[in-house]
Amino acid sequence: MKIHNVKEADVVIIGAGVTGTAIARELSRYDVEAVVVEKGGNVAYGASKATLGQIYTGLNMVGSMVLKSIVLPPGTPLTASALHDPTKMMTKWCDEGFWDWDRGGFDELDVRHRYSPLLVLAKDEDQIKDIETYVRLGESVGGIYADFKRVDRQTILTLEPNVNPEVVTGLYAENHVIDIFPPEVVIALSENAVQNGVKFYLNAEVTGIVQKDEHQVVQTKSGPIETKFIINAAGGWADRIADMAGGRDWELQYNKTPIIILDRRLKGLINGTVRWPNKPGLIQLVQAREDNIVIDCGYYEITHGGPADTGSIAENVRQSMAMAKTLVPAISEDDIISSFNGVRVFNTRDPGDHIVQFSPANPKFLNVVPRLPGIIGALPMARHVVGMLTDVGLQLTTKTDFNPYRNAIPTFRYLSNEARNRLIAKDPRYGRVICQCETVTEGEILDAIRRGATTLDGVKFRTRASMGRCQGNFCGPRIADILARELGQPLHAITKKGEDSNYSYAIGAA
């Protein structure tokens, strides 16, 4: 990454996850110098890259309320007032956020998405009791939260013929879950922010924050930046950043959940999301927008390995698969193409809500530390944060030339042959398939590089190249060739994810 020599900004946002990029994009509506610094070599490189990928409301949110009780103090009652408190930011932004995405967010940012029918299933008495809890909770909140149907076994098996035939009853909602690919949301937000003038510095880990009269200086590995305001959106690393600005009265706690991706040859095995209401685990089989089945086992094991502890544990993967098989018996361990751990961040002060407040020691340093779900509420959160900045003196003038629209890289795989031929006529490299598993062409990879990808993972998250069944073992060297050629670097300088993560070394070199 080039080291830019810009040293001044009005606002520095630390962290390019969904929180940081949503705030950056919101700020780009105004005439204000905003800068995002990110320690990784790509955006979306912390919690945002390893989540299930659902934007949801209604029935699934009711499920989430039940789930939420796991992280709340023991004995928290399963009531609507305890679990759906509209005075809490988390609740409010989830309510608003779903509609923000649904009514325009996706279209503006050109983010691929799919409404996924949701079935909550029950096969024994415990689960039937949980279904009753869902109904009770949903009805006491009302509105969309009660807008689901009770369905019998016959209906369930018509909707999803491949679920466990022992199922007896269930709940069904048609439009309460939207499948997305989480890094794409962050990439879209960041690209639109860049279009509108925000600067991003990658590989720019923050090493210190210094106060200087009227302004403050953010020191990074890519040089210092002078700024009026700082937003701490460092996600799992927010505690360390907050300490640099004078302290905090909260701790972070990290929970790991295994996420497993199955081979796309299983497309069609399920049509939407299916889950048990609680035990065993909260398993969701999502036929996400890319036709892979995704399993999220919602273990919520506390990890002491910190926010970077995303490694998977073979035993958890096997257990998760065994549990998922109780939902859809036809899947097997042989279908796994990828598995990783999502790290979920909670604060110890109120695990049920976000932290959005100025540092007690520094009135121009704003901590924005959301708990999950981060993506659903990102847009209202960003508006709220920008409002807080104006309250403490940030001057904002609306830009006349703000462009809310961002165009995605064309996805060759989903185009018609006519549309493919139009692309190939423009640039023949759209006809050369590099990643065969996911049918990603050289043209798409070049687009990704033009938009800022400098690493193999940067290309992967923008194009899906090497996300298929061979996991980059065929196309990895070819993508590295293209990166080296386009960036004018030797092959051995190409990395997987920045720093010293070199993909290869020259023979003869030590």
Partner: protein, 432 residues
Amino acid sequence: MIKESQTKLDVAVIGGGPAGITACLEFSKSPHLDVALFESEAELGGIPRTCHLRFFGFRDQNHVYTGTAYAQTLSRKVRRTPIRIYTDATVIKLIPGDKCEPHRIDVSTPEGIGTFKTRFIILATGCYEASRSARIISGNRPPGVITTGTLMELVNLRGQKPGHKALIVGSEHVSLSSVLTLKRAGVEVVGMVEKDQDVHTYALVAGAMKSFYRFPIFRDTSINAILGHTRVEEVELYERREERIFRVSCDTVVLTGEFRSYAPLIDHTAIERDPLTFGPAVDTDFMTSIPGIFCAGNVMRGANMHDLCALEGKRVARCILDSPASDRWDTADMSIPLQTQYPVRFVVPQKVGPKAMAPRSPYWLHTGYSLQMAHTIRNPVLEAWSGEERVWKRSFSKLIGNARIPLPVHKFDWRRVDKSKGLIVKLGTEPL
């Protein structure tokens, strides 16, 4: 653009490796056929192209080449034929035709998307090695965890090495080539890990290599975790017999073997898939469940030697040349299913047609039925059963895990086979 007039074919061969090219060479003997070969890379040759070792061509070319020279030889030969060759051309969709209708393929090239109608298809798309995730290994996901295929691409085609100290996972034949490839690149081999009690290759050769290059072979040992964030730093191993957990310091992990069929084109088609090989299930003629769509080479199973794949390509071409298309629909259901029971991993072909039952079947030596075991077994007896009847048995001194073991189906006692009950190949319970 691919011209409209060229889009009708007799045979589309998908994959320009040894199997695909050799099939084309055989077709070129019948010049009246319109045959096209599609290869997604810029050059023909397939996997042998990436291998510097000199053991190629022995059984199909009667000559010994390096992999690179072998690939060049095949490529040169096929380019001299009238076969149409499309490189940089990836088949992105396969739509089987209805009964007696031609099949359709969509091909992506830098000149545009071509749509071809064809009477026959030969799938020769090869195999791949199970990735790190597919093997369910704990730990973070740093770079430096690669397969033999990637290793050979980096070293032999690009003059690159994946790291400085490598641990090899697996002990199949291909694991030995990865030792030689690593050594060629100047990479230290810190060990070879095999979860089975015995290695999955010739024990003598593995032993000689171990002494010559001075690396340990950890048998009965599995990987607990790969440690490190931006680089591999250590690998944690678990030795079962001693119940010992220990760590090996390295920056590269080479995952070898555990081959699977690479056949994304059959996904979401009516072509029957064998969950054991991950590839299409085939009959004696290497024909899939859809008449007119055939397989050749390692797309049927990973991984046979390149020259056997080449011979399979030749044989499948002969099958197509020797019998008219209309016969296919009539004979498609005449085959008997052949199944396996653990620790027999799989058998290919998965069905037995009348041809294979003939007492002197011409095909059994190199291109006949073969199976693989899940692990190495000493002094086993293999048996074939049809219902309650044992129709074949043979004792072996050793069956090597994940290696090709020929299965002489022509020696089965076919008079006692009950077609309705099918056949199953399994380990005998008592020694002979």
